[in-house]
């Protein structure tokens, strides 16, 4: 209470306290979020660099820039970095960390020290991944399937140990978020007055806590298999390599929802703010997130339709796969319905909202195709699958991540960016993305298997087109890097609420003060009650 009187003069969280030590040892969720953001963006750049390199090799159907082994290492590093270092932590750990306490009207997350520990565990895990990169990078693919991963001579242990450690960072973030949402909400904010982004982080955290330990133990078993042998994946002793796939996908399929659920939360925030209207079907949106989280645990077997599991198991996994698609479809329709009768402000974040809708729909429709058993048998292991999950992960999560970043950028850094260049970059990213990945749907349908270093000459023109697309995509991100950095230096100062948002993070300064709010907020209305504001 004493803080309030001189809160206004204390300066923003960016400058108070000062000095690099105050950053490294901070327990402020905002600073931790910013540090995560930095590492996540670096990881994305690194993973993107590997993607550009491997697409370059694919310009030619035969050996061209890299050897087969180097190519295999490139796609492994691309996948592992993008999944474990970038996309899993992307929205929750950076935007979520920064925004969740603000949106709940809290001073911090429930366990600030644990939050900092999560960050350093993340850095520690990243070091192992980087070490793997420079010490004979793993060539197993990011899925680490046994028995290839237990027999190859590349540095699999370092990479899996990295992913193992990163898993604990993710688990602890999940524990923190669940406790925060249960216990730290502002006075008057009951569960159904919570912003949908918080709901989506809640659903995400449930998956993080329940699924990640299984991945952790699986990777640990893989490491132990390589060092002392455990035998359970070793067919020579009577072990079963396919058991690894079951364990792996028990995590990694829910992990797909760790990646997409927070993105859906961002989308709900974007649509309500930029349409200046209550989100359509709030309750359905909240419950559908939870439904997705629960069903996501029961569909892992759809990665094993051609691995020789029983027909009955295949049928059950197929039907559950369709079920998990339904809540996602509901969300898309509800976002559309939110736009009805709104007042749409077509700013850069909203362009990413639109990109998400378009690309996520394509990803969803092709997901239906892959869920159908007979079609999956054909498409499994081809470029069709590659294109599908890039439409969901990149077309979905990355678009929402960028959209969210642009939406909250003024709040996080207190600066505005160039709206013009924002739109230009969005255009290049959208166009480039479709060039790269729509082409791959055709390649896959024509029978081109994935993870191929060489390919039949007949596929060359499509591959070349896809590679050119990566350059357009890369250009888009380059433009974005320039104008965002420029905004940090030269950007005009941002007002507290540049978009007219209603959630609590817009009720404090940009950037916020150290303890978020000058006086503890009290909530007495729904999160998107624009009617009340606009009369």
């Amino acid at each position: 209470m004493v803080h309030e009187s001189h809160a206004a003069s204390e300066g923003s969280y960016l400058t108070n306290p000062k000095g690099w030590k105050s950053w490294l040892f901070t327990v402020d969720h905002k600073r931790i979020g910013i540090m995560y953001l930095l590492f996540i963006v670096i990881s994305f750049a690194l993973g993107g660099f590997f993607a550009l390199a491997l697409r370059l090799q694919l310009l030619s159907p035969v050996k061209f820039l890299f050897t087969a082994k180097q190519y295999n290492q490139l796609f492994t590093l691309h996948g592992a970095i993008m999944v474990f270092l970038f996309i899993v932590p992307s929205i929750p750990a950076s935007l979520g960390n920064f925004m969740l306490p603000l949106m709940l009207g809290a001073k911090d997350v429930a366990f600030p020290k644990l939050n900092l520990a999560s960050f350093y565990i993340y850095v520690f895990g990243a070091i192992f991944c980087v070490f793997s990169m420079i010490s004979g990078a793993a060539d197993t693919g990011w899925t680490f399937y046994t028995p290839y991963s237990t027999t190859t001579d590349t540095s699999v242990i370092s990479m899996t140990l990295g992913a193992f450690i990163l898993g604990f960072s993710s688990i602890l973030t999940g524990v923190n978020f669940i406790a925060t949402i249960h216990k730290m909400r502002a006075k008057g904010m009951n569960w159904f007055r919570m912003p949908l982004f918080a709901w989506s982080l809640y659903a995400t955290a449930i998956i993080q806590v329940l699924a990640t330990p299984v991945l952790a133990i699986t990777l640990l078993l893989l490491i132990l298999e390589r060092t002392m042998g455990v035998g359970i994946f070793d067919s020579k002793l009577g072990g079963d390599p396919v058991l690894f796939q079951h364990f792996f996908w028990f995590y990694s399929h829910p992990a797909v929802y760790i990646m997409i659920l927070p993105a859906m939360g961002v989308m709900s925030e974007l649509v309500t703010t930029f349409c200046r209207k209550n989100v359509f079907g709030y309750t359905t949106m909240a419950y559908s997130s939870i439904a997705i989280a629960i069903i996501s645990f029961l569909v892992w077997g759809h990665h094993l339709f051609v691995s020789g599991q029983s027909d009955n198991a295949a049928a059950i996994f197929s039907i559950l796969t369709f079920l998990v698609g339904i809540p996602s479809a509901i969300k898309v329709f509800n976002w559309l319905a939110t736009m009805y009768g709104g007042s749409i402000n077509l700013k850069t974040p909203f362009l990413y909202f639109l990109s998400f809708i378009v690309l996520f729909c394509v990803g969803g429709f092709t997901g239906i195709m892959l869920g159908a058993l007979s079609l999956d048998v054909y498409f499994h292991g081809t470029y069709f699958v590659v294109a599908h999950f890039h439409y969901v992960m990149m077309g979905g999560t990355v678009m929402a991540f960028i959209g969210g970043l642009h939406y909250w950028w003024p709040k996080m850094f207190g600066k505005m960016y160039s709206e013009f260049w924002g739109r230009v970059a969005c255009f290049f990213i959208f166009a480039g993305f479709n060039m790269v990945f729509f082409t791959q749907f055709i390649l896959g349908a024509k029978g081109m298997p994935r993870r191929y270093f060489n390919y039949l000459d007949q596929f060359q023109s499509l591959h070349a087109f896809s590679t050119v697309g990566t350059w357009v995509l890369g250009l888009g991100f380059l433009i974005m890097a320039f104008y965002l950095i420029d905004s940090l230096i030269n950007g005009p100062p941002a007002p507290a609420n540049p978009w007219g948002g209603m959630t609590l993070e817009w009720q404090t300064q940009s950037p916020p003060i150290m303890h978020n709010f000058e006086s503890a907020p009290v909530v007495d209305h729904d999160p998107y009650d624009y009617k009340r504001m606009d009369g």
Partner: protein
């Protein structure tokens, strides 16, 4: 028999999306795809049109500064877009499951062929006929074929795009796959589960021939008796997957290059050296890990019992010519 085997192009044959099918079940699989595609396009166009219309109609202007609608939810509407996709999905599930079952249940009278996947080649065995081949699966048209598949090392996956079928090939159990070709031709076989350096070179050919040709082929085995040795060797070099690991242009790959190898001494991993002559080549084909050239791993699969004497001679002649 010596004529060049030309594999049907996947890109040039068939429709915009799919390679030409070689069996009637592909029509049902493709049909499901087109059904979902049509539904998706209708929905997608609908969603995009709605987006564009809303963007125009409800754009923020001086006249439209705030939302004009206060609607927060509509249970009926939400039920509609929950139940309709649900019904569609269940229908799609049923279609896919039905075809999946018929694709995984072979008829009883099928011709059984054993498939062995190993780094990085496909080997086929006809147990009743006692024939073994490498990189080439020959089957009669209009007869159900059952493949019983196993791996000697890591997981592979046997993929026949023209038949829309695929099954993982595992080291610890046998998996099965069946098909019935309804037209003759040469079709592409891929490995579609990542298996290491030469994964993308782990290819094979499916030759669907008439019943008479098949009988003829069984009698003659895989080698043609009248073909000149160096030409046969050149053909075997790719057919038996030698080319996945051995180059002929002097560059080292997974294994040593063949160029300029014959008649020279090579150092071995145990420190000794050996002259590359007919005996050494024969031994290295049949028992490859007996004398491994320095700088390479002992990973070559043994070809003992798979290649005939004349085929080995053909490869030796081919190596001489390089």
């Amino acid at each position: 028999m010596a004529k060049e085997v030309v594999i049907e192009s996947l890109m040039k044959s068939g429709s915009f999306w799919f390679p030409e099918g070689a069996t009637s079940i592909t029509n049902r699989v493709d049909g499901l795809f087109y059904f979902i595609l049509a539904g998706s396009i209708i929905l997608f166009v609908g969603i995009c049109a709605t987006l564009v219309y809303f963007l125009y109609k409800y754009r923020r202007t001086e006249a439209n500064p705030v939302a004009t609608s206060n609607i927060t939810h509509s249970t009926i509407l939400e039920l509609v877009w929950t139940i309709i996709p649900l019904i569609l999905c269940l229908f799609i599930f049923w279609w896919g499951y039905k075809d999946y079952l018929s694709m995984s249940t072979p008829p009883g009278n099928a011709l059984e062929i054993r498939v062995i996947g190993k780094k990085w080649l496909w080997q086929f065995e006809y147990p009743k006929e006692g024939v073994k081949t490498l990189g080439e699966l020959v089957v009669p048209v209009n007869r159900p074929i059952r493949l019983v598949m196993g791996s000697e090392d890591v997981i592979h996956s046997f993929f026949l795009p023209n038949f829309r079928i695929k099954r993982d090939v595992l080291p610890n159990r046998y998996t099965r796959l069946w098909f019935e070709a309804e037209r003759t031709g040469n079709f592409q076989i891929f490995c579609s589960e990542y298996c290491g350096d030469a994964h993308s070179a782990m290819l094979a050919t499916l030759r669907v021939v008439t019943e008479a040709e098949y009988k003829e082929w069984l009698k003659g085995g895989s080698g043609a008796s009248d073909e000149p040795l160096p030409e046969l060797g050149k053909r075997l070099y790719t057919k038996n997957a030698c080319n996945t690991c051995h180059s002929i242009d002097g560059s080292p790959s997974v294994g040593p290059t063949w160029k300029g190898m014959y008649g020279h001494n090579v150092s071995l991993v145990d420190g000794t050296s050996v002259l590359v002559d007919d005996a050494y080549i024969k031994e290295s084909i049949e028992k490859p890990n007996a004398k491994v050239v320095k700088g390479f791993q002992p990973i070559m699969p043994a070809y003992a019992g798979v290649m005939r004497e004349r085929e080995i001679l053909a490869l030796i002649e081919y190596m001489k010519s390089l």
